[in-house]
Symmetry: C2
């Protein structure tokens, strides 16, 4: 019997990163219709950083959360609607309560891979409201398989009904995925999933590795639409899974049509793997750092790539932008010392 | 000890397909310099279909073979220069003789995967001239591992000093590569190589699979520059090989610089995986058919993707464009019959 895989499609959420959260009403409508036609089981929508994240600091959405959820709900019937929820950005009282009212089906509650405990109340709230709650572990390459399992178990104990690990920096090779997903699939009673990024050209094969190691949930984004080097390209994923005999329930021709619609409507140029994306993947550093790193490189006269590797050595995570200056200053000092001989 | 991999870079040859063979003198100069600086061991140059192929039929080059070889030779010092040679396009008397005089180091002599015997005289000539001759088996997914080995052995017996199999349709998944390269590496006394295309997002991991199965030569093209979904992206390959402890001798930062130079000079938009590329990979059909297939689809009112799958079933190879019409007509007839009930 064919192995069944549940595909979650974050095109209208992770893809928002690629356009500074400016996806238009027309884009939401066009893509929800296309995904629904292709029988994509779950469509994730919202600001790149999820519900309640629109702000001066991380970027303001052109649409409110309320608008996005209403527009998407109107065009998703068979497909379930999911949102990304980061405690800290997303409050329970203001945001989650309203999201429940607006008909969100699946709440994907994400934390840094070693901070699962801040997801406790959010997961609880969603379950109490009778909705589906998943736990998402971001930047998962920064934790060992054993630590990931511990963190995932916390989320499971709070009521999470699935765990998805994200390769936020696109740092994994297939063996890394096999090891981590294998550990989670063995140690958890709930389904396990994988969300890839393509910095090292591995997003699709990493997803295959995840399934072979026991994952049953895979994220894929049309045309790879997403930040930096992009996410796992959904239509390629569907083709490869079909070839391997994994059943996604998604119609191949219709998902190829969805790619054409995305190209015409909101994604004229597909993401590609830039030199800095590669460095970001190798260093295991969030590619969202690219812009401040480039600025610091110019200010201090050092190589942006050295800054990335320096950040990787210091295990920098999102929010630690101040580390960029610190690393750049160190590199500039070393360079000056070397020049003096 | 680190495993040593010999990288051949067909950017200035396979990439020519992506720009209808219009790569300019400036592009050749800029990229030869960049590749040389990055210590790329072998740089392949020329018309997309190789020496002597420029013609009305397959596309006219903006530069003559003579120009290309002279310009490239002038800017390649440590890096060796290679050319792609298809007997039929490339004659011994006119083309190969002159290529030897102009200082080509490596002659990569390619045939369809089941027609190695037409490479006999070309390989012989190159060896007699004291130059290096490799045998290239194109569209290699169309032969079983055993047949590929037979064909490769013929080339070896003619004097080929290496065998490279090409995944011309981007049809392989890693296990396919493992099986074929493993068979060749076991059965041949000469080095074995792999040339990937990215139709199913597998080019980099297929190259890794090739090395793990015994290949020591891998082709990679900057920014994946090549026909359709593109070739194996060279700078990603170098990064991943470095991470895996395979030694390419290529400088990572300098090859990343080369990608920036390519972007600015001749490749503003990197190749991406289009819906038709995916179908081409799944069907195992040369993606160069895309345009005539689109035309036939319009003429006969049928789906281009159905034509591709139809061509795949008939094992269509380049040059058999007439099959496209045949398949399109069949599909149209079936459609008409179905409409009648």
């Amino acid at each position: 019997m064919a192995k069944k895989i549940l595909i979650t499609d974050p095109t209208l959420r992770d893809g928002n990163h690629a356009v500074r959260h400016q996806l238009s009403r027309d884009a939401f409508i066009a893509y929800c219709k296309a995904a629904e036609a292709a029988r994509v089981p779950i469509v994730e929508v919202g600001h790149g950083n999820g519900l309640g994240a629109s702000s001066m600091l991380v970027g303001e959405c052109s649409l409110t959360d309320e608008d996005i959820l209403k527009i998407s709900r109107e065009h998703l019937h068979e497909s379930r609607m999911s949102i990304h929820v980061i405690p800290g950005f997303c409050t329970i009282k203001r945001d989650l309560t309203r999201a429940v009212e607006l008909g969100v089906d699946v709440f994907r509650i994400g934390t840094h891979c070693t901070e699962a405990d801040i997801s406790d109340r959010h997961i609880n709230f969603v379950r109490q409201a009778g909705k589906e709650a998943w736990g998402i572990l971001m930047m998962s390459h920064m934790a060992t398989p054993a630590v990931l399992l511990e963190e995932a178990k916390k989320m499971e104990s709070y009521g999470a009904e699935a765990i998805v690990i994200m390769d936020s920096a696109g740092a994994y090779l297939p063996d890394d995925v096999t090891e981590r997903i294998g550990t989670l699939a063995d140690g958890l009673a709930i389904p396990v999933g994988f969300h890839g990024h393509n910095n090292l050209g591995m997003a699709v094969i990493n997803s295959v590795a995840a399934v072979n190691a026991g994952a049953t949930i895979i994220d894929g984004s049309i045309r790879g639409f997403g930040a930096g080097a992009g996410n796992t390209q959904l239509e390629v994923l569907v083709a490869v899974f079909e070839r391997l005999g994994f059943e996604t329930g998604i119609d191949l021709y219709k998902i190829l049509d969805a790619a054409d619609i995305a190209e015409k409507t909101f994604n004229p140029v597909a993401p590609s793997i830039s030199p800095l994306s590669i460095v970001s993947g190798l260093a295991g550093v969030f590619s969202g750092f690219a812009k401040p790193v480039a600025r610091a490189a110019a200010d201090y006269g050092v190589d942006a790539r050295d800054i990335f590797f320096g950040l990787g050595k210091r295990n920098a995570v999102a929010g630690q932008e101040s580390l960029i200056i610190e690393v750049a200053r160190d590199l500039a000092e070393k360079k000056a010392a070397a020049a003096k001989g």
